[in-house]
């Protein structure tokens, strides 16, 4: 009996000691990071998987300019949504200092984010890029990258088939169809539509929400009206026009016989190898395209034409919008870490070293007026040209619920495959909106 008691006693002492040691260790760690005023470590949640290795490089370069700050990258797993990752990190009380999230997610987390209204870069941001991250006049996010999409053309292929090609001459749906017909006569398949729910649901239909009016506020109102069941999409001109164009595009689709069989990679392959002349996609596809065929650099965007009126603004404008937002956490990070995070943002915008790292290393179109340099890829250059000519517009992505693209994208897939007609498609979309709270 005594022996047993001895063992119990011994065991409990061991448990207590290990607990104390553990706590002390933990405390030391915490104190070391918070008290040591020189060294700060901040974390950066990246949701752009394609540039993660470059980001690490950029963080190293940043630490050369600011030796007391180190930035640690936290990647988001493939297929995981930024929203989901960040909410689990908040749930575990371990939020990153800087979180890169989608514009629509900012409002959901805004109580956890630092108010950035007094930062210098707020005044230098390109007009409109802060709209989605401003609430009650307070700015909660830093627009990290502008991305755009439209019909990517492969100039080499087109010119080989029909001679000189001037993208600006395509100003209506008929112009585009005539070009397609000419290409087809020369045995070039005009276009591939990749049947991806995000591409069809968010991007293609996104145009319909964004092209309701040139006034962004009116588009917001349109969405509110949809929710209130005040809109009849079957009579909506923009939706019908855009779907007319869609009908035209799918007539010339590479995947016409099996429209749902394509993948994202296949789209890039077909375009880069010159098997199709056009692909509906955005500038994020550039790394993939150039990897498949590094010799060809002559690509660019043309808008998805909506009508047959050559002077229609939306026939001449492509979508370009801040696609990733950086936000600074105030719940789990110290004041010092927040300051360090602000330093990183300012380094991107105002330090020439930072600008170069941002634009060239990460291949990003900066949403700030004072950043004069642009990335070295033809797709980004094409977007910058449209931006300079003020021929870009933004779909109200921040207002689309997070299940909009998978659900409505699935309807678009059915429409693409001919399993649903236009009336059914528009009815389903209206039903979807009626359910949104």
């Amino acid at each position: 009996m005594k022996f047993k008691k001895l063992i119990y006693g011994f065991l409990s002492v061991v448990v207590v000691i290990s607990l104390i040691v553990g706590l002390i260790n933990w405390n030391v760690n915490v104190l070391a990071t918070s008290k040591n005023s020189k060294k700060v470590k901040i974390t950066f949640l990246s949701t752009k998987g394609e540039i993660n290795s470059q980001l690490q490089e950029v963080f190293k370069n940043f630490s050369k300019d600011y030796p007391n700050i180190t930035v640690e990258l936290i990647p988001v797993g493939a297929g995981q949504s930024p929203f989901e990752k960040l909410s689990t990190m908040y749930a575990s009380g371990n939020a990153p200092t800087l979180a890169m999230i989608d514009p629509s997610d900012v409002i959901k987390f805004k109580n956890n984010f630092l108010n950035l209204s007094n930062e210098k870069w707020v005044k230098d941001a390109i007009k409109g890029t802060l709209d989605d991250v401003t609430f009650d006049g307070k700015v909660f996010g830093f627009p990290f990258a502008i991305e755009g999409y439209g019909l990517i053309y492969n100039k080499q292929v087109i010119e080989k088939a029909i001679g000189k090609f001037e993208p600006k001459t395509i100003r209506t749906r008929n112009d585009l169809e005539n070009l397609f017909k000419k290409l087809q006569q020369k045995n070039v398949t005009p276009i591939v539509i990749s049947p991806l729910d995000w591409s069809l649901g968010a991007h293609y239909l996104g145009i319909a929400y964004g092209a309701q009016s040139r006034d962004y506020k009116m588009n917001k109102r349109f969405i509110d009206d949809l929710k209130a069941k005040k809109v009849d999409l079957k009579k909506n001109k923009v939706f019908n026009d855009l779907l007319d164009t869609f009908d035209m595009l799918r007539k010339y689709n590479y995947l016409k016989n099996s429209p749902l069989a394509g993948t994202y990679e296949q789209g890039a392959q077909l375009l880069a190898q010159g098997k199709v002349a056009f692909w509906f996609m955005g500038n994020w596809a550039w790394p993939l395209i150039t990897q498949i065929n590094p010799n060809n650099k002559s690509y660019g965007f043309i808008p998805v034409p909506i009508t047959n009126n050559p002077n229609d603004f939306f026939n001449n404008a492509i979508v370009a919008t801040p696609s990733k937002i950086l936000c600074i956490d105030i719940k789990n990070n110290s004041k010092q870490q927040q300051e360090a995070a602000k330093t990183l943002l300012n380094w991107f915008v105002y330090n020439s070293n930072g600008q170069k790292n941002w634009v060239y290393n990460l291949n990003i179109i900066s949403p700030f007026r004072n950043v004069k340099i642009t990335p070295n890829d033809p797709l980004a250059k094409s977007i910058v040209e449209y931006m300079k000519a003020e021929k870009t517009f933004r779909p109200p992505f921040a207002l689309l619920p997070s299940d909009h693209w998978p659900i409505v994208g699935a309807y678009m897939q059915k429409y693409l495959a001919g399993k649903m007609n236009r009336q059914q498609l528009l009815t389903e979309i209206m039903k979807y909106w009626a359910k949104v709270k």
Binding site: F83, E84, F109, P195, A261, D403, A410, Q413, A417
Partner: protein
């Protein structure tokens, strides 16, 4: 009283830590999860309201949920059936003493070592690229298009990959069952004049009943809960036609941000699977005999 206390002490010494761990990571979240089914929590907000049974009412009315539940039942039926048939047949073959049977066992077991996500991507390539290529070259209509592009075929693609993945694992359990049958029984039966088929039906199958219990339970439970393969192979597409119930629950909770409804659906799924597997285990236990 004192004895009880002593017993309790012994229990704490040996099972205390694991009980606490089990309670904190399984029991408590489970009960909390049930509690959340009565709220309208969206998954991140700090506040939510208590809304009674309306989550359960809405899931009964939810056509999409019902469809995906029925699809899952269909999927479970075919995968459990084929997995066990093939696994049993393979085990029978690979305990009959053919040449290189150990090598074959390893080969058939290997798919189980690959995670569902990787497996899904490999098969996606096969269905999207490899099979259509051969189909077009050889003029076989069945394969000339990607299977993942049509709802019917995408479903069968899921079944095929699942069966391919699990049958090796179940085969191992069946092999253990075969090896565990006392040889003297078989010999005695042979001497008594029982042919191969009679031996299989009258002796081997009844003695294998414990293996069936385990295999059926495992394949049932795994098929009901499948998510990774569904995600990697079809992502629920084309147009959500192959969205099995786990994926539907996940999307409801995290994508549509209806955590309460999603949790309620998950709870219904849990109850269903629990009832079905309990019945199955009870019935197959009754069929077991002692050698």
């Amino acid at each position: 009283m004192n004895k009880r206390l002593a017993n309790f002490k012994i229990f704490l010494t040996f099972a205390g830590v694991s009980t606490i761990a089990f309670a904190t990571v399984v029991i408590v979240p489970f009960i909390y999860g049930i509690y959340l089914t009565f709220t309208n929590w969206n998954g991140i907000d700090n506040k939510y309201e208590f809304i009674g049974f309306s989550n359960y009412l809405s899931l009964i009315k939810d056509q999409v949920f019902r469809d995906s539940f029925l699809l899952t039942l269909k999927y479970v039926f075919y995968t459990v059936l084929f997995t066990n048939l093939i696994a049993f047949f393979l085990a029978y073959l690979l305990t009959s003493g053919i040449k290189g049977q150990n090598l074959f066992r390893i080969i058939f077991f290997t798919p189980n070592l690959i995670g569902g996500i990787v497996l899904g991507f490999i098969w996606q390539f096969i269905f999207n690229n490899a099979l259509p290529y051969f189909g077009q070259q050889l003029g076989i209509d069945l394969f000339s298009d990607s299977w993942l592009a049509s709802p019917e075929k995408a479903f069968w693609a899921l079944v095929i990959v699942t069966v391919w993945q699990y049958s090796g694992y179940m085969m191992m359990i069946y092999i253990a069952g075969f090896v565990g049958i006392p040889q003297d029984l078989i010999e005695a039966a042979t001497i008594d004049g029982a042919g191969q088929f009679t031996r299989l039906i009258r002796i081997i199958l009844p003695l294998m009943a414990p293996s069936f219990t385990v295999c059926l339970f495992l394949s049932l439970q795994r098929s009901f809960m499948v998510y990774d393969l569904n995600l990697a192979l079809t992502k629920g597409g084309p147009f959500k036609s192959t969205e099995l119930v786990s994926m539907h629950v996940y999307n409801e909770a995290f994508l549509s941000q209806n955590y309460g409804t999603g949790q309620a659906k998950a709870f219904v799924l849990f109850i269903t699977v629990a009832i079905i597997t309990l019945i199955q285990v009870y019935l197959s236990k009754k069929a077991e005999v002692e050698a």
